[in-house]
Symmetry: C2
Subunit: 300 residues, 2 copies
C-alpha cells in the first residue's frame, strides 16, 4: 500500500536551560586524530520532549493523536513490532488521523543530561521484562516458554529489548511539564498512552482537561486524582491478560477500577475478553491490528 502524507518531520517542545559550573576541564579524544580540551561547564538545553509527526494526505477533521510511550522505552514502540509488523502509528494514519509520536524527557532522541537528576537510572533486563510484562514465568525465560495463548512475539524478545532505554525515577514532574507544553502547542489533542506514559498523560489531563479530546490509556502505571468538578473527555483504560500473576498488576487493576467508579467518563475494557493472551505490550502483540482499530475508533 501507499502512505500519502501531507507532511512529516520532527520538533522539540518544552524544556529549560540549565547552567553548570565548577567542573574541571578535561582533555577528550573523540577520535584518534581529534583531541581537545572539553569544558563540561556551560549552558545545556534540558528536559524537552522530542516529537515526530505525520499528517496523512486524507486527514480527517479530528484532533491530532499523541502517542506516549511507557517507562524505559521510546516512541519507537509505536512504529514497528519486534517481528517486523506495522505499528499503531501506521494503523492510525490509515484511518486519517494526524499522529505525533513522543520521546519524552530523558528518553531516546529527547536526550539526557549527565548528573542533572537525583538517583541512578534504571535499566530493564530481558528477564525483568519477561516476568513484569507477563510474557511468562521465571522458569520459562531461558527456553522462551510463554504463558499459554501468549500474543507477544516472544521469539523476538532480544529485538524488543534493543528498544529499551534507561530511565530515572526522579523525572516524572519534568515529563508532565514537557507533555503539557506539547498539548499547549497542539491546542487540543487525543492521547494514546502506555504504562508510565499513562500516568504522565493522566496527570497532564488533570492539569489541563480542556486540551484533551479523548484518552486511551493502556495499563497506566498509576491513577492520579482527576478533577471531579470539571467535564472530562472520554477516558478508556485498556488492560490485558494474566493480571493475576503478580500483585503489582492486581493492585493496579484495583486502582483502575476505583478510578472508573469515581468518574463516569472513565471506562474499563478488559482486552482479554476479546483478545485472550494480551500482554502488557498490547501494541506489539500478535493480532494488535484489531486493538489498534478499537483505539482509532475512540479517536474518531
Amino acid at each position: 500500500m501507499t502512505y500519502s502524507l501531507r507532511d512529516f518531520g520532527s520538533y522539540t517542545v518544552g524544556g529549560r536551560l540549565v547552567t553548570v559550573s565548577g567542573r574541571p576541564r578535561r582533555e577528550v579524544s573523540f577520535t584518534p586524530s581529534t583531541r581537545y580540551m572539553h569544558d563540561p561547564n556551560g549552558t545545556f538545553a534540558a528536559e524537552a520532549a522530542y516529537v515526530q509527526y505525520f499528517v496523512p494526505e486524507r486527514r480527517r477533521d479530528r484532533p491530532p493523536v499523541v502517542l506516549l510511550h511507557g517507562g524505559g522505552m521510546t516512541g519507537s514502540i509505536w512504529e514497528s513490532t519486534p517481528d517486523g509488523r506495522k505499528g499503531w502509528l501506521h494503523h492510525l494514519l490509515d484511518r486519517g488521523l494526524e499522529v505525533h509520536v513522543v520521546d519524552n524527557v530523558e528518553r531516546g532522541r529527547a536526550g539526557w543530561i549527565p548528573g542533572l537528576w537525583p538517583g541512578e537510572p534504571v535499566m530493564r533486563s530481558l528477564e525483568e521484562a519477561w516476568t513484569l510484562f507477563r510474557f511468562g514465568d521465571t522458569a520459562g525465560f531461558d527456553t522462551r516458554l510463554a504463558f499459554p495463548g501468549q500474543r507477544f512475539p516472544v521469539d523476538c524478545l532480544e529485538a524488543f529489548a534493543r528498544g529499551f532505554v534507561p530511565r530515572w525515577t526522579s523525572t516524572t514532574d519534568a515529563q508532565v511539564t514537557a507533555f503539557l507544553a506539547l498539548l499547549e502547542r497542539l491546542g487540543t489533542a487525543s492521547i494514546v498512552c502506555h504504562s508510565q506514559g499513562g500516568e504522565i498523560a493522566l496527570r497532564a489531563l488533570a492539569a489541563a482537561p480542556a486540551r484533551v479530546a479523548a484518552v486511551v490509556a493502556i495499563e497506566p502505571s498509576g491513577t492520579p486524582v482527576l478533577p471531579g468538578s470539571e467535564a472530562l473527555p472520554p477516558i478508556r483504560l485498556l488492560y490485558g491478560d494474566y493480571l493475576s500473576v503478580d500483585p503489582i498488576w492486581e493492585a493496579l487493576l484495583r486502582g483502575w477500577t476505583a478510578l472508573a467508579e469515581r468518574h463516569a467518563d472513565v471506562s474499563l475494557l478488559d482486552l482479554s475478553d476479546a483478545f485472550p493472551g494480551t500482554s502488557h505490550m498490547a501494541m506489539l502483540d500478535r493480532g494488535t491490528e484489531a486493538v489498534a482499530a478499537l483505539v482509532a475508533d475512540a479517536m474518531l
Copy 2:
C-alpha cells in the same frame, strides 16, 4: 506537497547480549503507587543501532541511502532544521531515494546501558557548540553575534541544542560494528555521514568497500586509512567556511587533503566557494536545500 511512501518504519540491527551480575537489588518507585524490587542484574541487549527507513513510492533503482549523524547527536538532525525547515531526509526522498536514518550505538533511540562503557559520557554545552561548530566567536555567544554571513540559524541555538545527546568516547568500535551490520543487512548502500559519523562510516568502508556505492562525508572528524589496493566507491568530502578559526579544523583540513591526495576516488568540495557562511552543520544551514541537491546528485 505530498510525500507518497511505499513503506516506512524502523528496525534495530547489530548488537550483542551482555550479562550483569553481583549488583544489589533495590526498591524502585516508578510512580507513587507502583513500588517493586528492581534487580539490576540479568541480560541486556547492548550496542545495536536503531534505524528508521522511508521508501518513496516512486523509488529510483539506486542503492538505499544511509544517513549517519555526528557525535552527540541523533538521526533527528536529518529530519527538520531547528527553525522548522525540511531536512535532508525530505530532500533525498523527493529525488526518489530510499533513506535509512541511523541512531548509532548509545545515541537516541538506540539506547545505552549504564556502567557498560569505560569513562564518563561527554555532553556538549551551547557555548561549546557555538565555537566548535563555527557559528561565532566566544565573545559573540551571549548576544548570538555570529560570524559575518553565517548560514546557521543562530537564533534557534536552543532548539538545536535540545537535540544533543551525551556520548561516550569509548564506543567507536561498537559503532563501526553496528554500522557494518547495517550495511550487511542492506547489501549495498550509499552513505551520507557527518563529523564523527564520517569517521565511523569511513572505517566501515575500509572494512567492507564492496558494500558501499558512494559516500558523501561532511567534515568527517578523522580520516582512517583506506585500502589502497581495492577499488573504492566515489567519496566526496564536503567542508564549510571559517575553518581558520580553530586549529582543530585546520588539522582536519590537512587530513582531508592528504586523503584526497592518496586516493583518486576521494574528492574535496569546499562548500564556502558556492555557499559562503556554511557552518559545521551544513544540513541545518540556511540555503541547505542546494547542498542537499548536490548530495542527492552524488547518490544518483
